[in-house]
């Protein structure tokens, strides 16, 4: 089809970025244990370095897929090796390549056995995660999606804590159930959508609303497990508690974003009518996640569990923003995906650094650290404040956009969601109060050492990002504008079939915010017009 919504580039940037870590992983099997850390670090840094020129070449004025690569893979049925990024996936690619070197650094001393294998698995993980974000063919996507499970399973199951096998199996089974449903949904899309696995082409198909409903449920479970949305979240605390630090970081920072990415990339554009029908349910589940996660975090005695449940709460904000279905909501959600990656990743690194010293993750065992470990305490405070969305830090921008998007959708929902930001202050400051303030326990008082240079090097980029995104979020937001607008256009119901199921007010969901209230009412009363499907020229925006 000539009108594929893509832009190509001469050099196969994406293939190189995706498969360089895999190459590194292979290489790691041939080197000595002592040099494996350095090789993993160099490879992952190189991968990050490769994504940076992409940023300058990325054209934010178009919603098209950029750096597109297309090689036929299997002819019948037509499956292609097809890659590309747009303003939705690119920030997540950046996040992924940015975090893996930090994970390598965090595992420098804490991983003591099978170092080669650990680093290799970490790099395979990176390859699979990047593949998920850039794949434009559903089969290719599914391959990466499934590959992703195995390294994570191994990271938890081999290098994890005492109860690692239970956690690993739970994680694997949970996500596998989702994967199976996802695969069925992909097949249905293939047969209903004109025998193609091409993701871009499938977003242009008008699926029958009844079919959409079935696919919705499959997508919903597959992605909701990953997010994780209430009530599919109980694998998360177990996995986090048992995983080694780097595993927790990857899990929280990138893996959880897969579900939200799936919602934005597949559910909204492909299933607009079903999305419209189920939006209230999704919003309700997001609200439950926000409050439930926050209250759960309040009750935890284990630092990792506390942060795990705070993730549930924060990801609730992300899904809330997505299903507000307006520019602010979705841009806020993508921002928050990146922010949560940075901040929660950093908090897990903090707990990791602490565990290496005190060998306990219990809040009760780690008190009064501001005295013996001032650098650590400062960092903990900074990341806790970022996590609770203090203005000037990264999370505020995301949360603010999400809440404003939500507020445009429903005032009551926004009011309930803002309870979440109060509770976030309660559980995070309670943690800080116990860990940083007070006097150290008897056992730990003598031998606690503050963060060393390597650890500071791990944290420094994160601190910079916390403030940089907080104060200058526009470089990131600019990447998203056109892509997000396209998703919103695609997510507007195309067929009027199901409109009778919606309450009259739900039209406003799809109206973009207008400057004056009077104009907005006009938009609301406008009959739902079938929106231009694609191709969209860059000039449309």
């Amino acid at each position: 089809m000539p009108d594929l919504n893509v832009q190509t580039s001469g050099f196969p940037w994406l293939s190189v970025i995706v498969f360089l870590p895999l190459l590194g992983a292979v290489l790691l099997f041939f080197v000595r244990e002592t040099s494996s850390r350095w090789i993993a670090l160099i490879i992952s840094l190189a991968d990050f370095a490769l994504t940076l020129p992409l940023w300058s070449r990325f054209d934010p004025s178009t919603a098209r897929m950029q750096f597109h690569e297309h090689v036929p893979w299997i002819t019948s049925p037509s499956i292609n090796y097809s890659l590309g990024v747009d303003g939705i996936s690119f920030p997540l690619v950046l996040l992924t390549t940015f975090l893996i070197p930090l994970c390598v650094l965090a595992s420098w001393r804490s991983i003591k056995t099978r170092i080669n294998e650990f680093m290799a698995v970490l790099l395979v993980m990176e390859c699979a995660m990047l593949g998920v974000f850039v794949a434009l063919d559903f089969v290719l996507f599914y391959v990466f999606w499934e590959i992703m499970l195995i390294p994570m399973y191994l990271i938890i199951g081999v290098w994890g804590g005492p109860n690692r096998l239970y956690a690993a199996v739970k994680f694997f089974l949970y996500t596998l159930v989702g994967s199976v449903l996802l695969f069925i949904a992909i097949l249905v899309l293939f047969f209903q959508g004109g025998h193609t696995f091409d993701i871009l082409r499938l977003t242009q198909v008008d699926f029958d609303p009844v079919v959409q409903h079935w696919i919705f449920w499959a997508f919903f479970i597959a992605f909701a497990v990953k997010v994780p949305m209430f009530p599919f979240h109980t694998w998360l605390p177990d996995a986090h508690v048992e995983a080694p630090t780097a595993g927790s970081v990857v899990l929280a920072s990138v893996l959880l974003k897969m579900g939200a990415y799936g919602f934005i990339r597949f559910m909204l554009p492909m299933l607009p009518e079903a999305t419209a029908t189920f939006t209230p349910m999704m919003v309700a589940l997001s609200l439950v996640a926000i409050l439930y996660g926050a209250y759960m975090a309040l009750a935890q005695a284990d630092l990792k569990k506390l942060i795990a449940y705070s993730s549930v709460s924060h990801m609730g904000f992300v899904t809330l923003g997505i299903f507000a279905l307006n520019t602010q909501g979705i841009e806020g959600a993508i921002m928050q995906m990146v922010n949560h990656g940075i901040t929660t990743g950093a908090l897990f690194l903090c707990v990791g650094a602490l565990y290496e010293r005190t060998h306990s993750r219990m809040i009760a065992d780690n008190a009064g650290l501001a005295g013996p470990m001032p650098r650590f305490a400062t960092l903990l405070v900074i990341f806790a404040l970022s996590s609770l969305g203090l203005p000037g830090t990264n999370s505020f921008v995301g949360e603010f956009l999400i809440l404003i998007g939500t507020f445009l959708w429903s005032k009551a929902v926004a009011v309930i969601a803002s309870l979440g930001i109060i509770l976030a202050a309660v559980y995070l400051l309670r943690m800080v109060q116990h860990v940083a303030y007070g006097v150290p326990t008897e056992e730990s008082a003598g031998h606690l050492t503050d963060l060393n240079a390597r650890e500071m090097a791990t944290f420094a980029p994160l601190v910079v990002l916390v403030f940089w995104i907080g104060l200058f979020p526009n470089p990131l937001l600019t990447l998203m504008h056109t892509s997000v607008d396209q998703v919103i256009a695609q997510a507007a119901p195309r067929s009027p079939v199901l409109t009778h199921q919606q309450s009259p007010t739900s039209h406003r969901v799809f109206s973009t915010v207008s400057r004056k209230p009077r104009e907005k009412r006009d938009t609301q009363n406008r009959p739902v017009a079938p929106l231009a499907l694609v191709p969209q020229t860059p000039n449309d925006e």
Binding site: L173, Y295, T327, Q328, L390, P391, L429, Y437, G438, P473
Partner: protein
């Protein structure tokens, strides 16, 4: 050039934060405090220049630094608005801030974490400056939460004290409740105006329906109540006294806690549209003014008495806002910043002299030992009590007079009663601290000393300001101060404020003076003339005394009503999560396991079983036949012979 000057105001302390924060451990304290105080000094000079320009030209200016957030049609700039209101706030914040910074050099001398203290203080200055300078709600909000953060960090400055950590968390969380309300107000503004810039919002505020205006105003009020420690979110402020005394003076008296007042005055265009919200503001203020004053009557911690007095005085400012006397609110904000900073710092000087003692039951008779501090404290007391012609007299009297002349008699009565109590508890504090017999503990008594010059000199400046600070606002409602602020504060309601109702005003001044003197006299009677009378009075109404002493048990009530239930909900949900939800998961897992066990059983006993039956039958047959194959030649031979016989037998006989 002018724009640069404006931008530099918050940039100077920001630079000091960065340098002291990142490299402060590399150099001595002397460099750190010079940097910290110098940056605030430069900010103050810039503020003066900006003020002078505004005074000369009368022009309101907006200065855009850069575009901060841009999403959809939401565009937020990091930009500043310079108008008379901002100028007043700038002078108060940087001026009082500079004095307190200088004082801190002496007060914090020798403390561990000296550089950290100044880093936090400078960060506070940055946030507070953003708060008062922002030209839109979101910049205000950065400052708003930023000052909350610094308050949190500075309350918890002595990090090894558990009580300090608890107070810090309490302060932040209570502020967050207010902040959530403020956020909702911001959303409402955006939905209704499509922008967050003050200029456009206030210009079009008249378009709002009364209901919408009321909703926005009440949400803003929630934010203001949290930040300015009004009823019902005031309990964090007395606990905030866990922080070092300069912090209490700067953040918890002179500047941060007045942010709510500033915000309401800034938004008066919206409040003017919402009479219900105005009434609410007035009553919140009135109730707080009286309520906090009653608690202040019986407290024994010198800083806590001052804290309750701050809450009470902030109540007066809210009351003024609620009755449309915006200029009076800002006027009182300014004079209060002078005399309350003076009182706190003088109290700090007392505490410093007594090696950290804060309990007034263990003071007394200090007048002779630290005469300078005594004189300064007395000036502050006279000012806050409203003794003519000190600063507090003019500003407080203007609020009360405005209430009376505009027919808010109930509020007027509350304000007058509050003024009586204020005068009483402030003189009680003065008498118990500086007069009578010394109750100082012997081991402390030997070390009592007057504070060093670096602490006393800033106090002298504040004392002068407390005396003359009221004169810009004289005559009431017609003073220079009022005309300067007119461009900002004159609105629908307050527009009618400037009418000469002089006769009752003079009379009201007399009433206010009599009230203040009455409070003084009562305190003199109870704590100086007949020291035993106080405890007799307390013994006569033990229940009332206990209630006041325990602050109406509000902390306990909040604990029981909010904190404990929240913890309980957390625990219940935790249980729910582990047993029910995870139970369901394990149930599904168990069912799968059970299913697989069942199929294993089926496999084992039915499928394999049937095969096994066949096989066993085979086996049995085979076993019986096996006997034939013994491998011994003679057996085979015998069988062959037997077979032959049988065959022969059959052939022959058939």
């Amino acid at each position: 050039m002018y724009d640069l000057l404006v931008i530099l105001i918050p940039v100077f302390p920001l630079l000091a934060v960065l340098i002291n924060g990142l490299a402060g451990h590399r150099y001595s304290h002397h460099v750190a405090y010079r940097l910290a105080c110098g940056s605030v000094g430069l900010s103050f000079l810039c503020s003066v220049a900006v003020f002078a320009t505004t005074l000369r030209t009368g022009i309101t200016r907006e200065v855009v630094a850069y575009t901060w957030i841009f999403g959809g049609d939401l565009v937020v700039n990091l930009a500043f608005l310079i108008d008379p209101l901002t100028c007043v706030m700038l002078l108060v914040v940087t001026g009082v801030g500079l004095l307190i910074h200088l004082y801190s050099i002496g007060y914090m001398h020798g403390e561990e974490g000296f550089t950290r203290f100044f880093t936090y203080m400078n960060l506070f200055m940055v946030s507070m400056l953003l708060l008062v300078m922002g030209n839109n709600y979101l910049v205000l909000f950065i400052g708003w939460e930023g000052v909350g953060l610094c308050s949190y960090l500075l309350i918890g400055y002595y990090y090894d004290r558990v009580s300090a950590a608890k107070a810090a968390t309490k302060a932040f969380v209570m502020n967050r409740i207010g902040d959530a309300g403020f956020l909702l107000a911001i959303f409402l503004v955006f939905v209704n105006f499509g922008t967050l810039d003050y200029t456009e919002v206030f210009a079009r505020a008249g378009e709002l329906s009364t209901a919408t205006a009321t909703a926005i105003a009440l949400c803003l009020l929630i934010g203001a109540v949290g930040k300015s420690a009004q009823v019902p979110l005031y309990t964090w402020l007395p606990d905030a006294m866990e922080g070092p005394t300069p912090v209490s003076a700067l953040i918890h008296a002179a500047t941060m806690v007045t942010a709510g007042v500033y915000m309401i005055v800034r938004n008066h265009a919206i409040f003017d549209m919402a009479p219900v919200a105005m009434t609410t503001v007035a009553w919140v203020g009135g109730i707080t003014a009286l309520f906090a004053a009653t608690i202040g009557l019986v407290q024994n911690d010198i800083k806590r008495v001052l804290a309750y007095s701050t809450v009470s005085q902030l109540g007066y400012m809210f009351l003024a806002c609620g009755i449309g006397a915006y200029t009076a609110a800002i006027f009182h904000l300014m004079t209060h910043a002078f005399f309350k900073a003076l009182l706190f710092l003088a109290a700090g000087s007392v505490i410093h002299a007594l090696s950290g003692e804060q309990d007034i039951r263990k003071m007394g008779g200090l007048k002779a030992r630290i005469p300078m501090t005594h004189a300064l404290f007395l000036v502050g007391t006279l000012a806050i009590a409203g003794i003519f012609p000190l600063a507090g007299f003019w500003s407080k009297d203007e609020i009360m007079a405005h209430a009376f002349t505009h027919g808010h008699y109930a509020l007027y009565a509350m304000a007058v009663l509050g003024a009586l109590l204020t005068s009483f508890y402030m003189f009680r504090l003065t008498y118990l601290t500086f007069y009578g017999q010394s109750r100082v503990e012997p081991h402390v008594a030997g070390h009592i000393h007057e504070s060093p010059g670096i602490m006393i000199k800033p106090l002298l400046v504040l004392a002068v300001l407390s005396v003359i600070g009221g004169f810009p606002g004289v005559p009431p409602e017609e003073g220079w101060f009022h005309h300067f602020l007119d461009p900002v504060t004159v609105g629908v309601l307050s527009g009618a404020a400037h009418q000469g109702a002089t006769h009752p005003i003079v009379l009201l001044m007399v009433v206010a003076t009599v009230i203040a003197l009455a409070g003084w006299g009562l305190a003199h009677f109870l704590y100086s003339a007949r020291p035993e009378a106080a405890s007799q009075w307390a013994a006569r109404a033990p229940a009332a005394y206990r209630t006041l002493f325990n602050k109406y048990y509000i902390d306990e009530a909040y604990d029981a009503a909010f904190v404990e239930p929240a913890k309980r909900v957390g625990r219940i949900w935790d249980w729910f999560d582990r047993t029910v939800i995870d139970g369901l998961v394990r149930g599904v897992g168990g069912m799968t396991q059970g299913g697989s066990a069942l199929s294993t059983w089926m496999e084992k006993y039915i499928i394999y079983g049937s095969i096994n039956v066949l096989g066993y039958a085979n086996h049995l047959t085979a076993r019986s036949w096996r006997r034939l194959q013994t491998g011994m030649v003679h057996h085979y031979a015998a069988i062959i012979v037997a077979g032959l016989f049988i065959l022969l037998h059959l052939i022959l006989l058939w």
